[in-house]
Amino acid sequence: MIKRSELLKNLKVQMFYLDPVLVTQLAFPTLMLTLFLIAPIATVLLVSLNYNPADIFTDPTYVNFNPRGSPITIRLITFRGREFILIKISGVSLGIIMNSLVNSFIVTICASILGIVVAFVMARYSFPGRTILRVLAMTPLLVTPFINAFVIRKIFDWRDGIISWIIGDVLHLPYRIGIEDLAGVAITQIMTFFPIIYLNVYSSMINIDPSMEEQAENLGAKGLKLFRTVTLPLSLPGLAAGAAIVFIFSLEDVAAPIVFNEKRFMSYHILERFLEATTGQLSPVAATLSLILLILALAAFIGIKKYVTLKQYAMLSRGGRWSPRIRRLRLKGLIVVYLFILPLLLFAAFPQIGVFIYALAENWADPLPYGFTLEHMAKIVEDPLVFRAIVNSLTYSILAIILIVAIGVSSSYVIARARIPATDLLDILVTSPIALPGLVIAVGYFYFFTSIFRGTPLDPITFGPALLLSLAYSVRRLPFTARAVYAGLQQVHIALEEASLNLGASRLKTLVSIVIPLIGINILSGALISFVYCMSETSVGITLGGLKGVGEEHQAPISFIMMDYLERVGGPHIVASLGVLLISIQLLVIVLVNVVFKQKYAYIGV
C-alpha cells in the first residue's frame, strides 16, 4: 500500500511538471490529435456498425480460399507474324481482403530479402562505386505518385514493353515476358519500398557493436553462419521496423493498383467507394473495409511500437557510433556486386529515371522515347490547373508545417521532460500516424466533418477540402518532425533548463530563450522532412482533394491533379513533369538536412 506521504510526494512532483505552460503543451497536441485523428477514426468504427461484417467475410469476392487464375502462364503464340513463347506473370486472386494481405506479405518478404542483401553489402564492404550504389539504392524512395508505377507498367508490357522489346525485337529471342494484374502491383511495390528496409537494416547494422561480430569470429563463425547467427539477429530491430512500415505502405497503396487497373485490392475498393461518395452517400462497406485496413495496420504498428515511438527512436537514430567493420571486397565479391547488385539497383531506380525521360521526351508511346522537349515541364507553370495544384500543395504544406511544429515541439517537450504517466499515451498518439493508412483518415474525415461539422468551414463539401487537407497533412506527417525534435531534446541537457528556471526565468521564457534555440536545427530539419512528405501526400489528396471539383479555383493538391491528368491525352508527360518537381524538392531537402544541417534522420522508419 502506498503511504500517504509518498502519495503527497508524487502529487508534488506531478504539480511541478503541471505548470500552465506544460499543461498547455500537453493539452494542445492531445486536443488536436483527438479532434483530427481519434474522432474521425472512431466515426469509421461507428459507421461500420451499420454493415454486418459477416457479409464481407462470407462474400467470396472479399475472402476466397480457392485461388482464381494462374500465377504464371506460358503459351506459344503467333504475334506480328512470328512465333513466341509468351510468359505472363499475373498472380492469383484470393478475394479483395486476402489479396491485400497476401500481397503485403509477399512485398514485405521480397523487399526484406532485397533490402537486407543491399544493406549488408553497403554496411560491411567497401568497393569502387559504393557511393553510386548507395545513391541508386535510395533513388526509389523519391516519391513520385502514379508515374513511377506507370513507368514500371511500361517496362513489363508483353506487347510493346521495354523488356519484351529487348528480348524479342533487339535480341530476336523467341520470348515475350509480361508482368501484369496482381503481380504487376506486387513488383511495383517491391521496387518502390525495398529501400525502406535497406535504410532501416543498414542503420541497425552500422550500430552493431563490432566486438560482437569479432567475438563470433574468434569463436570460429564466419561467412553465412556469422551473418545468420550474429549480424542478422542484431539487425532485427531495424528489419522489424522497416518490414512493418513496408507492410503498411503496401496495404494502403492505391497508385500501383490504379495504374495496373487492378481493382482486387482493399485500398482500390475504398477509393472507388469514396469517389462515389461525391454523389452524396458513402457506403458503409467503405467504413467496414477501412476498419479492416486499420486493424491490420495497427497490428503491424503494435509489433514495432517499441522501435518507432519517440523515446526509442532517439536511441536508435544517432547511427554509426562505432568505427564500422568495413572490408574491401575481393574479386568474387566484386563480381557479385557488379553483375547482380548493380543491375538490380539500376533496375529498381529505373522508374525514377523513367519519370525524367517521360517529362523530357516528346513522345514515349513506343518502347523507346522520341525527341526532347521542355514543353511538358513548362506546362506545369503554364497550365492554370496544374499550377494551382502546386500553389495549393505549397499552401497546405506550409500551413501543415506551422501546425506540425507547434504540435511536434509541444508534444516532444512534454514527452521528454514531464515525468507524468500521460506522456506514454501521447507518445503513441504522436507516432501512430506513421502507421495509420491515409485512406482510413480520409474516409473518417469525410464521415466526421460532413456530418458533425456540416455547414462549417470544416465541411469539405460546402467549403471545399482546403482546410481539412492542411489538418490531415499536419496529423499524418507529424511523426517526422516530432522525432527530430525529440532527438534534439535528448541532446540538450536538462541542467541548462534547470539553471534557467533556478535563475527565475519562467517555463515559457526558458522554452523560448534556451530550448528552442538549442534545438532549432532539429526543428528545421524535421519540419523540412515533414514538408516534403506533405507535398507528395497521396491517399488523402486523391480522395478529399477532389471534393471541390476541378476548375480554375480548385482546391486539389498535386497528387489529385496527377491522378486526374494521368487519364488525359498527353497527360502522363505532365504528370511526369510534376514528378520531376517533387523529386527536385525532395533532393533539395535531403541535401539541406544531411549536408548543410548535418542531421542524420532516417527518412522512413527508425
Binding site: Y51, D59, G69, E276, T279, P284, E553
Partner: protein
C-alpha cells in the same frame, strides 16, 4: 498726301492688322463651343459567371479564353468566369446554394433530371433566342432542345455526340481480328479469341458507376436488343473485356494498344485518331443514338442576362471551341462549318454529315432514367466485381468451342445459362425474384436512398453471380 496722312494710314493699317490678328487668334484659340450635353456611356457592373460542368477542363478553359475576347463579353462586362467540374451528385447543392449561373455538359439525362427537379430557368433573352433558332430541333430523331410545358426552352444542345467504339487497327491486326461493326459483334466469340490465344482481352469497357457515357451505351444496348437479350450481350461484352474505371481510361487503352477495341463516345474516337492514326471511330449502324450535350441557365443564377449572353455565344461563335484539334467535338450549330476555321476541319465536317445521316434507333430516355442506378450497380456487381470468374468460365467455354469439344448448340446452351438474368431473394420482401426491367424500376428509389439496402443487394447479386459462373465452370470441367 501729307506725312501726317500717311502716318495715320499706317497707324490705321496696323490697327486693322492687329485687330484681324487678334480676331484670328481669338477665333482659333478660343475654347470650342460646348457640345450638346452627352451622357457618358454607362458600363454595366462587372460580372463574374460561375459554370458547373462535366466537360473536361480543356474545353472550359478554351471557351473562357475565347469568350473573354468576344463582343458579348464586353457588352455585359464579364470579367471573370469560374468553371467547376464536379460530379453530378453535387450539382443540386451548387445550384441551390447560388454558386452557379450556368450548367454545361453532362448529357441530356442529367439535364432532364435538373429540369424535372425545377433547377433550370427558361432561356428568354433576345440574343439567346436568336442563337437557339440556329440549332436544329432534332438530329437523328433525338431532341436538341428541351421545351417546357410553358413553351419556353430550358436546355439546348451545345454539341452533339454519338456512341460507338474506337478500334486500334494495329492491335486488331496483331490479334488477327476483323473490324467489329455492331454491339453484338463485341460480344462474339471472335472478339473473345485473344483471351484464349494470348490470355488478353481485346475489348475495353468502363465501369458504369464511374462513366455516364458507358452507362448510356449499356442503356442503348438494353433498349436496342430488349432486356434479356441486352443483358446477354452486356454479359458477353464484359466477359470479352478489360473493365476500366472510366471512359478516358478506355480511350487511352485503345490509343496505347492495351486493347484492340474500346467502347467510346465519338469525340474520344476522333481524339484517339489524332494521337494514334491507327485508331478509328466506328458508329454501329442502327444501334446508336445521337445525343445533344446541353447547356442551360440554372434557377437562381445571380447574373441571368450575362449568363444567357454566354449561352448565346456558345451556341454561335463559341462553336469553334469544338473544332480545336485537342477537343474534336461535333458542333450542334452547323453554321460554324461555313466559317474559315470550320472549312479547315473537313474531317470533322465529314464526321458531322455521317452523324446527321446516322441511322439511329428509338430510345426512351425516361425509361432509361427509371432503372439507371439499379442497372449500373447490377452491372458492377455481376460483371465488374466478379469479372475474373466470368472471364475464367468464358475462356474455358471458348477454348472447348474452338477446339471443337463442344458444338454450337451446346455452346449456346451454356451461353444462355451464363447470361440469364439472376434469380435471387429480395432482401426487402424475402421472396424469390428475377432481375427484370420491372423489378429494377420498382426498387430504384429505395436503392438510391438507402445505402444499407443497396449494399445488401449488391452482396446478394455478387454471390448469385458467382454461384452461376461456378456452376457452368463445373459443367465445363467434365469435358
Amino acid at each position: 498726301m501729307s506725312r501726317l496722312g500717311v502716318g495715320r494710314l499706317i497707324f490705321l493699317a496696323i490697327i486693322v492688322i492687329v485687330l484681324i490678328g487678334v480676331s484670328v487668334v481669338f477665333i482659333f484659340m478660343r475654347p470650342p463651343p460646348p457640345l450638346p450635353e452627352k451622357k457618358p456611356e454607362e458600363k454595366p457592373p462587372k460580372v463574374e459567371l460561375n459554370i458547373i460542368s462535366r466537360h473536361p477542363t480543356e474545353i472550359l478553359m478554351k471557351a473562357r479564353e475565347l469568350f473573354k475576347k468576344s463582343e458579348l463579353a464586353k457588352k455585359y462586362n464579364v470579367v471573370k468566369i469560374n468553371t467547376i467540374v464536379i460530379p453530378p451528385g453535387l450539382w443540386r447543392q451548387y445550384i441551390e446554394g447560388g454558386k452557379a449561373d450556368i450548367a454545361w455538359g453532362g448529357g441530356p439525362t442529367l439535364f432532364d433530371y435538373l429540369y424535372h427537379e425545377g433547377l433550370l430557368a427558361p432561356l428568354t433573352s433576345r440574343e439567346v433566342l436568336e442563337a437557339i433558332a440556329q440549332i436544329p430541333d432534332e438530329i437523328a430523331g433525338m431532341p436538341m432542345k428541351r421545351v417546357g410545358k410553358d413553351g419556353k426552352v430550358y436546355w439546348v444542345a451545345a454539341a452533339i455526340a454519338s456512341f460507338g467504339f474506337t478500334v486500334n487497327h494495329e492491335r486488331l491486326k496483331d490479334y488477327n481480328l476483323p473490324v467489329p461493326r455492331s454491339w453484338r459483334e463485341l460480344a462474339s466469340p471472335i472478339i473473345g479469341r485473344p483471351l484464349v490465344e494470348y490470355g488478353e482481352p481485346a475489348l475495353g469497357i468502363a465501369d458504369p458507376t464511374m462513366s455516364t457515357s458507358n452507362t448510356r451505351m449499356y442503356e442503348i444496348i438494353l433498349q436496342r436488343y430488349g432486356w434479356t437479350e441486352g443483358w446477354k450481350i452486356l454479359t458477353l461484352m464484359a466477359a470479352n473485356a478489360e473493365v476500366y474505371s472510366g471512359s478516358e481510361a478506355v480511350r487511352d487503352g485503345v490509343i496505347r494498344g492495351e486493347i484492340a477495341v474500346g467502347i467510346t463516345i465519338d469525340f474520344y474516337g476522333y481524339t484517339a485518331k489524332l494521337v494514334n492514326p491507327e485508331c478509328e471511330y466506328i458508329i454501329p449502324r442502327g444501334e446508336t443514338i445521337v445525343n445533344g450535350d446541353p447547356i442551360a441557365l440554372v434557377k437562381g443564377a445571380r447574373n441571368p442576362e450575362a449568363a444567357q449572353a454566354f449561352i448565346a455565344w456558345v451556341l454561335t461563335e463559341g462553336q469553334k471551341v469544338w473544332l480545336d484539334p485537342s477537343i474534336n467535338r461535333m458542333p450542334s450549330n452547323p453554321k460554324i462549318f461555313e466559317t474559315p476555321l470550320g472549312k479547315n476541319r473537313t474531317d470533322l465536317y465529314e464526321a458531322y454529315k455521317i452523324t446527321l445521316k446516322t441511322k439511329g434507333m428509338l430510345f426512351n430516355d425516361t425509361l432509361a432514367l427509371m432503372y439507371e442506378r439499379v442497372m449500373q450497380w447490377y452491372f458492377k456487381a455481376t460483371l465488374v466485381e466478379v469479372n475474373d470468374r466470368l472471364k475464367e468460365v468464358w475462356t474455358k467455354l471458348l477454348s472447348l468451342y474452338f477446339e471443337g469439344k463442344i458444338g454450337e448448340s451446346k455452346f449456346n446452351e451454356y451461353v444462355s445459362i451464363l447470361c440469364a438474368p439472376l434469380k435471387f431473394t429480395d432482401p426487402l420482401t424475402g421472396k424469390e425474384v428475377e432481375f427484370t426491367e420491372e423489378y429494377a424500376i420498382s426498387i430504384c428509389e429505395k436503392f438510391e436512398k438507402d445505402p444499407t439496402f443497396k449494399d445488401k443487394l449488391i452482396s446478394t447479386w455478387k454471390k448469385e453471380a458467382i454461384e452461376k459462373y461456378t456452376y457452368v465452370l463445373k459443367q465445363l470441367e467434365e469435358y
